[in-house]
Symmetry: none
Subunit: 240 residues, 2 copies
Amino acid sequence: MAKSPSRTPVWKSITITLTDDIAQGRYDTGTKLPAEAQLAERFGVNRHTVRRALADMAQQGLVHARRGAGVFVAAKPTDYPVGKRIRFHQNIRRAGRAPSKKVLRLEVLAADGREADALDLEPGAPVVVYEGLSYADDHPVALARTVFPADRLPGIMEALEAHESITAALKACGVEDYTRRETRITAKLATATQALHLRTSEGAPILRTTGISDDLQGVPIEFGRTWFAGDRVTLTVGDD
Amino acid sequence: MAKSPSRTPVWKSITITLTDDIAQGRYDTGTKLPAEAQLAERFGVNRHTVRRALADMAQQGLVHARRGAGVFVAAKPTDYPVGKRIRFHQNIRRAGRAPSKKVLRLEVLAADGREADALDLEPGAPVVVYEGLSYADDHPVALARTVFPADRLPGIMEALEAHESITAALKACGVEDYTRRETRITAKLATATQALHLRTSEGAPILRTTGISDDLQGVPIEFGRTWFAGDRVTLTVGDD
DNA sequence: ATGTAGTATTTGTCTAGTTGTATAGGACAT
DNA sequence: ATGTCCTATACAACTAGACAAATACTACAT
């Protein structure tokens, strides 16, 4: 007897294959996928199993089904440029999609060791902790936890609440421009809460970026981590 | 049977009985056995005891179970010649069996790098992707994924749909003859979907051939991979 | 050309049946 | 004591078939 029968459900492997087909551009945005019955033939499974896979993809916002018409590709995995100038709203808009954000947490705390180190502060200095979700076309793309030096950016808390983008909030605090000093990227597995926010499953692959941004004088003004749903986002590095 | 302590386990006697039933032709190859629950009732044992017997028979390659569908009597081994002239229908017919094929997928897509390289095309040029199952006496023998250059073979898509064999379809597109430039053979483990198509189990050994065919002028007209159920197919090389 | 009716196609939903897996426990031989 | 054989129960994963509902397509009358 073979040792491991079906460790991964069949429907999941179908999800992976179809998601890859879309990511590779074999099915473009807006085009119709083959009918469920045809996909069932192609994969050698019952139609219901294909439906299970498509339902999973629909929940992630990758496809959208219309009864009687077909299943259509809703969105290609988002290309997200990582470089010196990271501006979420600009990036998403450039991809022809509607950016928005939701504040999950906003409070003033004392900086811990690593935060103080990254932001060049005394340990225990007040920092504004922002946690939020970023959306593209109402689909969650990124979960971010960002720390700002409170004393260096008076009014940042109110600005973050009022303005739609972080760039706009920083500008309201007198930061005309800012650039990324460095960005580190690693792969993680989604925790339960991360999965909930990013509308993926616990244990799904996650891209985590860690970065520090400076203002034009080279003074650090932001230290944060961002988590991306790995199967829906492609980080691109290089051209900037 | 009084209270004599049976030296042979119950499950083994079930194996013997069922194996004999198959050998006697009471269950033909490809047909479904009664459900495990019914067999359990017939033998007056628990379902798990029947499963133990069926697992033993499955390991011997006598039967094959499909979750949700049933347990089926496995097909007999097939010899499959590999050489310069590979013609599935001819090969199968020569073995005294009835060939047929089923189209699983037929789409026009953009060629990826390897496909373009193999077919001597520009990357992104249109290719017809064909995926199909080949049968001998209604038993799946091979799972094929073949890529044809769309521009070089006008009408190939309709021809593949209409004609019973690939050779016939190519002839309809003006390809009188074609030969294998090279064939590579490796062993793989069956993925879930491959196993479903070939009626074997995930993780079972699979023979994979990769090949390119040229027309009489030496122009590549086909690049494809074919998967065979390793325990049911013997590839033969040499005489041609 | 245009609207309409009919047909075929496609997704949504439901019910039922089958195998795969996990857990728990009793009987029995070595 | 330990492992094998068998029973019992429950649930997950998948198949199978049928029908409803929404849409797309085609032929036809005007």
